[in-house]
């Protein structure tokens, strides 16, 4: 891909600056990977818009509930730990697949998906607990109805991404095990998973820690 080895450089007269070899991959980024990066950019903006809305309304509100007790924060911390661990498993899956170790890659992919499932289960338990306490998108026991709306829409959007990610990872695991998908596909699914993980690192402090019970 170096410019000097390009046969065109000698053919084109008076213009040998920046001759493009054509059809090869710039910076060795395959289309699928670039496509996923672009998707991540736009998805990050969607999350940003929702988080911006939350900040806008929270700042405008006269009061905002801080209902999360130590148990809730502990639960959310465990969720964070599980999600971060699954990202480590994802890194190991990508590494195994690039070294040609198919079985290890599939195992790590399944482990990653399992992390996602545990996260979802813990999260749904949390949701059910809050719903039991009377939290709704339009009402909650502590005043400021928007608390429930912001909580459910932000964490719900994230949970949807985790769930889609679990399905995506399992599809990749099965396909990679059957040699239908390449190393690039594993890596691209990893990009998505790390992104979902990263979004949680914003939601966890903004939703939970900023609303932890102070007394």
């Amino acid at each position: 891909m170096s410019l000097t080895s390009d046969p065109l450089a000698t053919v084109v007269q008076g213009d040998n600056i920046g001759v493009w070899g054509g059809g090869t991959l710039p910076y060795a980024v395959p289309s699928k990977k670039l496509g996923m990066w672009l998707f991540i950019v736009s998805d990050a903006i969607t999350f940003s818009a929702v988080i911006f809305s939350y900040g806008y309304l929270r700042l405008a509100a006269t009061a905002w509930p801080r209902p999360f007790e130590a148990a809730s924060i502990t639960n959310a911390t465990v969720m964070t730990f599980v999600l971060l661990s699954s990202s480590v498993a994802m890194v190991l899956a990508v590494r195994a697949s690039s070294m040609g170790n198919v079985n290890a890659a599939v195992a790590w992919l399944v482990a990653t998906a399992l992390g996602g499932v545990i996260f979802d289960v813990l999260h749904i338990r949390e949701w059910l607990g809050l719903i039991e306490q009377g939290v709704r998108p339009f009402h909650n026991p502590w005043g400021t109805p928007m608390f429930g709306a912001a909580f459910f829409s932000m964490t719900g959007l994230h949970m949807l991404h985790v769930t889609i990610g679990v399905i995506y990872l399992l599809v990749i695991a099965v396909g990679f095990g059957r040699r239908k998908f390449s190393t690039v596909d594993v890596e691209v699914s990893g990009l998505y998973w790390h992104f979902v993980d990263l979004v949680w690192m914003f939601i966890f402090p903004l939703v939970y820690l900023l609303s932890a019970k102070t007394n």
């Binding site: 891909m1 065109l8 053919v11 084109v12 008076g14 213009d15 600056i17 920046g18 001759v19 493009w20 070899g21 054509g22 059809g23 090869t24 991959l25 710039p26 060795a28 980024v29 395959p30 289309s31 670039l34 496509g35 672009l38 998707f39 950019v41 736009s42 998805d43 990050a44 903006i45 969607t46 999350f47 940003s48 818009a49 929702v50 911006f52 809305s53 806008y56 309304l57 405008a60 509100a61 709704r136 998108p137 339009f138 009402h139 400021t144 109805p145 928007m146 429930g148 709306a149 829409s153 959007l157």
Partner: protein, 593 residues
């Protein structure tokens, strides 16, 4: 890296044979481009009919309109449009035109068709995703159109769907029930389709250029599509989030966009804690880049066409690229100028006013470079060239109005009047549509293998060009007089003395609209009966003119083109030709780099 397959090999696929795989669920970018194009043609037709109804109602509010009674017995009892139904029609007109015409045809239509061929690729980077984005857009159109036929009609909240009106539901008025829900679903789907399309465009442009096609050798059309795709990627994501929140407000009881203590039709709404301004921020953060999503592909086509038919290299290729990038960047910093009237600190107003004025600089530079390209050229007055020159005219005329509106103090008076209606129709609507006409007359031979009728085309141009000035220039003046927009009628009003101007505009709109049937006829008649087009009827240099009209399934018949020249090598006569194809290794460039 030598063992790595090239992207061209990765993306190879064979031509389908069945009718459905070939024409309906096709993955061929050429078929998808045409599908988008005809989706836009359908939408522009419906949108135009709606604008006729709107114009007729303004001038003859008691007119009985044939067939309207059957479409909406509640909205138009006896065929007479009610004030609410006027707003419904206005909403669908705006939504159709902005999303399904201005966003669809110039980018997804022509871009899909021409971008891969112009950069020497066999198809888009993700053909299946491409098909998916078309069908998602198609579903979005179905959802929007169906609002005309269900419940009490389409929403009355306009194409911007401002809350509280759009968020409180049925009690807010006719169309605010199922109609507004369908609007929200339609636009959310449209966002998803546009996002998929945008990432496909960017990846294609980055990865699939053929040998020798450096970024600075791409036709300006490709630059315009690339920049538009980046704008779409970054802005539709925000509108998507806003639509989701709006749908939640309407159906899950949340109050993102609804404040407390809201009285609607005498009923206290059970909402609290939200802000209608939040919607405006989210909407216009999308909405202003959207203006450029509509017009930048037009910039590309016009730059391209002016160079071809002036037989001169485009003046300042690199400057135009830089200006397009500048416009793209600045378009994300000016959304607040749509909200001066909504109440804003004068400091914020100032902050949004300055980049708004700065954005006129790259736009002006591009316009002057167009004039410089045409100046001293050996002009060929094809219909396509006329629409390109018409584009420059309407864009500059419309853009001048923007200078007034960028001043917060003037905007507070003008924003709620017909001045704004005239301004954005001229600069965004008509200009973008002229870009689409130019694109149609230019690429039709390649797309359908036949020529459009030039005589009909020139008649179409003449009526349309004079017509749009007759419709939209007076709007500026009645706006200065203070005539408010979105009012359904001005009978027995202090605005009564201006009614003759409205009548003039309505008659001009009816005539201009009728002249579009010349275009529709030309389009469909020439598709089957027009004279056969040669490979390169316009003596143009870019890659799409090196392949047969229409091109084979893989565009280049298994060959891989190699590019040796800039895209606009015109005017240097050699071997009896005044142009050098991009793929011609022997040709001498018109001027040195």
């Amino acid at each position: 890296m030598a063992h790595m397959p090239t992207e061209a090999q990765v993306h190879q696929h064979t031509a389908p044979t069945g009718f459905i795989r070939k024409y309906i669920f096709s993955v061929d970018h050429k078929v998808i481009g045409k599908q988008y194009y005809f989706l836009a043609v359908f939408s522009v037709f419906v949108g135009m009919i709606l604008s006729w109804l709107v114009r007729i109602h303004l001038v003859w509010p008691n007119a009985h309109i044939w067939g309207l009674n059957a479409l909406s017995p509640a909205g138009a009892p006896g065929g007479v449009i009610s004030p609410e139904y006027y707003l419904s029609l206005l909403t669908i007109h705006g939504t159709l035109m902005v999303f399904f015409v201005l966003t669809t045809a110039p980018q997804a239509g022509f871009g899909n068709y021409a971008l891969p061929i112009q950069i020497g690729a066999e198809d888009m980077a993700f053909p299946v995703l491409n098909m998916l984005s078309f069908w998602v857009t198609f579903l979005a159109l179905c959802a929007l159109i169906s609002s005309l036929f269900v419940g009490d009609g389409p929403p009355i909240s306009g194409w911007t769907a401002y809350p509280p009106l759009s968020a409180v539901g049925r009690s807010a008025g006719p169309g605010q029930g199922i109609g507004q829900d369908l609007w929200g679903i339609s636009i959310a789907l449209f966002c998803a389709g546009s996002l998929l399309g945008a990432l496909n465009f960017i990846t294609t442009t980055v990865d699939l250029r053929c040998k020798g096609m450096t970024l600075m050798r791409m036709p300006l059309t490709c630059w315009a599509w690339l920049i538009t795709a980046i704008l779409s990627l970054l802005s539709f994501a925000v509108l998507f989030a806003a639509c989701v929140l709006l749908i939640l407000d309407r159906n899950a009881g949340t109050s993102f966009f609804l404040p407390s203590g809201l009285l609607v039709n005498g009923t206290l709404q059970n909402h609290a804690g939200g802000s209608p301004l939040l919607w405006q921020h989210l909407f216009w953060f999308f909405g202003h880049p959207e203006v450029y999503i509509a017009i930048v592909p037009g910039f590309g086509v016009i730059s391209h066409v002016l160079s071809v038919f002036s037989r001169k290299p485009i003046l300042g290729y690199k400057v135009i690229v830089a200006c397009l990038l500048g416009i793209g960047f600045l378009s994300f910093t000016v959304w607040g100028h749509h909200m001066f009237l909504s109440g804003m600190s004068p400091y914020s107003g100032f902050l949004f006013s300055i980049p708004t004025l700065i954005i006129t600089i790259p736009a002006t530079i591009i316009s002057l470079l167009w004039l410089g390209t045409v100046f001293g050229g050996r002009l060929r007055f094809t219909t396509c060239m006329m629409f390109a020159l018409g584009f420059v005219s309407v864009f500059v005329t419309g853009g001048l109005g923007g200078m007034f509106l960028a001043q917060p103090s003037l905007d507070i008076f003008l924003h709620g009047t017909y001045f704004v209606v005239g301004h954005f129709h001229m600069v965004m609507g008509v200009a973008a549509i002229f870009g689409m006409f130019a694109g149609t007359y230019f690429w039709f031979p390649k797309m359908f293998g036949r020529m459009l009728n030039e005589g009909l085309g020139k008649v179409h141009f003449a009526i349309t060009f004079i017509g749009v000035y007759c419709i939209f220039m007076p709007m500026h003046f009645i706006g200065l007089e203070g005539m408010p927009r979105r009012y359904s009628s001005f009978v027995n009003d202090l605005m009564q003395p201006l009614m003759p101007v409205h009548k003039f505009m309505t008659i001009a709109a009816l005539i201009t609209g009728a002249s579009q049937f010349i275009f529709f006829f030309n389009l469909f008649w020439s598709m089957y009966k027009g004279p056969k087009a040669s490979e390169n009827p316009w003596e143009s240099t870019t890659l799409e003119w090196t392949v047969p009209s229409p091109p084979p399934f893989d565009n280049f018949g298994g060959k891989h083109p190699v590019v040796y020249h800039d895209p606009y090598e015109y005017g240097n006569v050699q071997n009896g030709k005044d142009y050098v194809m991009q793929t011609d290794p022997a040709g001498q460039p018109a001027r040195s780099q």
